[in-house]
């Protein structure tokens, strides 16, 4: 029997497992509607072809690829944060780590779908598996994403086993019989013996180390898909670490937003306190400084080199993409730095604002990495039309982007019906004086 000392923990951390609130239904319904609009857009796209998108001969990667990179970045950030927090046994990690793990797995499930939306000939997709060329960064990416997905699932599951055992055995709350049955299967017979604890801790430690390494490798591979080409703006030796840092930046931002959302919805104020926001906020601050440094370094060297195509690209960024460039690379970095850097500004609300700005800025950063480069081809193409030169996403692309965000919310909410979003076992293990 898995028993815990603090019975209130079970009660407080499982609000949606026991019953479903109106808020839950409302939010879930909203996400489903957004998702349905996206599906309608997708049907239009499949029916009429990619002509309904803004993508043309030059800009063949639009916001679908931007979203792919963005979601994959969130995922790797989640993996890095949860892995590091676990390995370094941070005392404050308990209420935060499950969110990071969920961000990892859910983003990783959503991201690759944007690749499918982007492919004109989906029937050729199996060729990637049937005839892989391992020299191709695309093949590395396919292998890496599958490997990462499996690893992150295992890590998430391992961290859930103890909670499943607690929910299986608890009498503190009333759980439906079918859920009890499910917990019995998922808990793998865990009863918290010393040997079981040792085995699961060892497995979790190993998987935490693995997912840190894999996250770095996988996101570097994604960066190299761009970096190994000779395209202006992409051909950069620092793209690997730059992408990794940017991913952690966006993931940390999302973590703060998710913490605040679920803290409010599930009334977790007692467990997720200002201290947690400040700690994760300081992580965001450090990453923002590194990310700003990488961004500056990347653009400075390109601008100073004055290679013809780089110069055309940078001119374009400062003219056609001026506001987006300023928001992504100045405001998106400086505002989080100022808000979190000055102790007076460090309130929960301000930290969440900083996180939202960081997250939106990072999305724009992805946009100005992908699109302007494709609008600046090496070979001047004769006879190309205006919409071939200037990409602008259509409502279908926006609808599918919103659907991606909605499905993220749907998954989070569904998980909250089966598993506690704040780990009960971690909370029990952590020093109560620290948390409560």
């Amino acid at each position: 029997m898995m028993e815990i000392k603090n019975k209130n923990l079970i009660h407080d951390l499982t609000p949606e497992i026991v019953s479903t609130s109106r808020k839950w239904y409302f939010l879930f319904g909203l996400f489903v509607v957004i998702w349905a609009v996206g599906i309608y857009g997708l049907i239009q796209q499949i029916d009429k072809g990619h002509i309904v998108t803004g993508m043309r001969d030059n800009v063949v990667w639009g916001i679908y690829i931007v979203n792919f990179i963005f979601f994959m970045g969130l995922s790797y950030a989640g993996a890095l944060i949860s892995g590091v927090l676990h390995l370094f046994k941070s005392k404050w990690r308990a209420p935060v780590i499950r969110f990071a793990e969920l961000i990892t797995v859910i983003s990783l499930c959503i991201g690759p779908f944007f690749i499918f939306f982007c492919i004109g000939r989906l029937d050729r997709l199996p060729f990637l598996f049937a005839f892989p060329r391992i020299q191709s960064p695309i093949t590395w990416d396919v292998i890496a994403i599958i490997t990462d997905l499996v690893g992150c699932f295992i890590f998430l599951y391992l961290s859930l086993v103890e909670d499943f055992a607690i929910l299986r055995d608890t009498t503190a709350i009333s759980i439906k019989p079918w859920k009890k049955k499910l917990y019995r299967i998922l808990a793998l017979g865990y009863i918290g013996t010393e040997k079981q604890y040792r085995i699961i801790s060892q497995a979790k430690n190993i998987m935490a180390a693995m997912i840190i390494a894999i996250a770095i490798i996988v996101y570097s591979v994604l960066a190299w898909i761009f970096g190994v080409t000779l395209q202006p703006g992409w051909h950069s030796t620092i793209f690997g670490p730059y992408f990794v840092i940017a991913a952690v930046f966006s993931g940390t931002g999302l973590l703060i937003i998710i913490m605040q959302l679920f803290r409010k919805i599930y009334k977790l104020e007692k467990y997720i306190t200002k201290k947690h926001f400040v700690n994760v906020g300081i992580l965001l601050l450090i990453i923002a400084a590194f990310y700003g440094y990488f961004t500056f370094s990347d653009y400075l060297t390109k601008w100073y080199g004055s290679v013809k195509m780089d110069k055309i690209l940078i001119d374009k960024l400062f003219e056609d993409y001026y506001l987006m460039f300023i928001f992504a690379n100045y405001l998106g970095i400086l505002i989080p730095l100022i808000i979190i850097g000055i102790p007076r500004f460090r309130t929960i609300r301000n930290i969440v604002i900083a996180a939202v700005i960081a997250l939106i800025g990072l999305w724009f950063n992805r946009y100005i990495i992908v699109v302007p480069t494709l609008e600046t081809p090496f070979l001047p193409i004769q006879d190309f039309r205006m919409d071939f030169i200037k990409y602008s996403p259509t409502w279908i692309e926006w609808a599918l982007t919103a659907a991606g965000v909605a499905i993220f919310g749907i998954f989070m909410m569904l998980v909250s019906k089966l598993a506690p979003l704040v780990s009960i076992s971690e909370m029990e293990d952590s020093a109560e004086s620290e948390i409560l």
Binding site: Q135, T147, L158, Q196, A203, I312, Y322, L331
Partner: protein, 288 residues
């Protein structure tokens, strides 16, 4: 509150900057397009007038779609042949009907004129062309000397055939994006002989199209004849056995070894984690 004031001031500053730059950009401007005007007499003896309207941009030529182009003939009393709208490639194409009798000037030339009148967005643009009609014949023959192309060209002036002399003619083959010039000949007394090269790739069976053409000629503009033949070198799509490299069929050994070691390392640890789960279950059963 101070923070919000700070954020609001930044956003307002940006909005002002963007509105300033927007003012610069949004001033109404009438653009000056260019026109390219061509005449082609193709292998079916169709006479085609083609006007292309475009803007010259930093990245190349930007075609303009949907502009009306009027085609005229007869320089003395301009006569409207027809009006055609430019397509998405900026091209307006007019085919002169076979039974149309065109007016010739005192030098035996036809005169054509294409005009876009202009609108609130684009300035007026026009081009004219003057040319002499020429009749071109072509035949192919394989002789001991090689693959020979025989060409004949003459004009009709005052009802009499006048052979073309001292003019160049070019031999082309179509390739993926344009026509490739492979040989050239010279007319003497209305006849030209050109040897076709032996090393021009065709399709898998060696088929290719041979084109004899006056190409952008000062007097005849574009006139061509096309013949399908098997004079090409059959293209082979067999992949040659290649060495190990990034760009060949088989990857370098170091890459295969590195990837294999990494994958075995990672998936090995996964296996360990899965075995740990099985052990947890076994220990649980034993403890019960």
């Amino acid at each position: 509150m101070k923070l919000y004031r700070f954020l609001v001031s930044i956003i307002l500053t940006l909005a002002c900057l963007s509105s300033l730059s927007a003012q610069d950009v949004e001033e109404p401007e009438i653009l000056s397009p260019y026109m390219e005007f061509k005449y082609l007499k193709n292998t079916e003896e169709q006479r085609i007038l083609e006007a292309k309207i475009f803007l010259a941009g930093e990245l190349g030529l930007i075609p303009i779609e949907g502009l009306p182009v009027s085609f005229y003939t007869n320089i003395e009393e301009p006569e409207l042949l027809g009006e055609v709208f430019t397509n998405e490639k900026g091209i307006a194409r007019y085919i002169i009907s076979d039974d149309m009798i065109l007016h010739v000037d005192e030098d035996n030339n036809w005169w054509f004129y294409a005009e876009f009148e202009g609108n609130e967005q684009y300035e007026m643009t026009m081009e004219e062309i003057s040319l002499m009609d020429v009749n071109l014949n072509m035949s192919l023959e394989e002789t001991e000397d090689g693959k020979m192309i025989y060409l004949e060209a003459y004009t009709v002036q005052n009802g009499e055939k006048v052979p073309v002399s001292d003019e160049d003619i070019y031999i082309f083959v179509p390739r993926m994006f344009s026509l490739l010039s492979v040989a050239e000949g010279y007319f003497i007394d209305g006849e030209a002989e050109v040897e076709f090269p032996d090393d021009v790739p065709g399709d898998e069976e060696g088929n290719l199209t041979v084109i004899g053409r006056f190409n952008d000629h000062w007097q005849f503009a574009n006139v061509e004849k096309r013949i399908e033949t098997k004079w090409g070198v059959p293209a082979s799509h067999e992949v040659a056995e290649s060495h190990r490299a990034l760009w060949t069929q088989i990857a370098p050994r170091w890459m295969i070894v590195t990837l294999t070691i990494m994958l075995i390392g990672v998936w090995g640890h996964y296996l360990f984690a899965i075995i740990s789960m099985i052990r947890i279950k076994r220990v649980g059963k034993k403890s019960k």
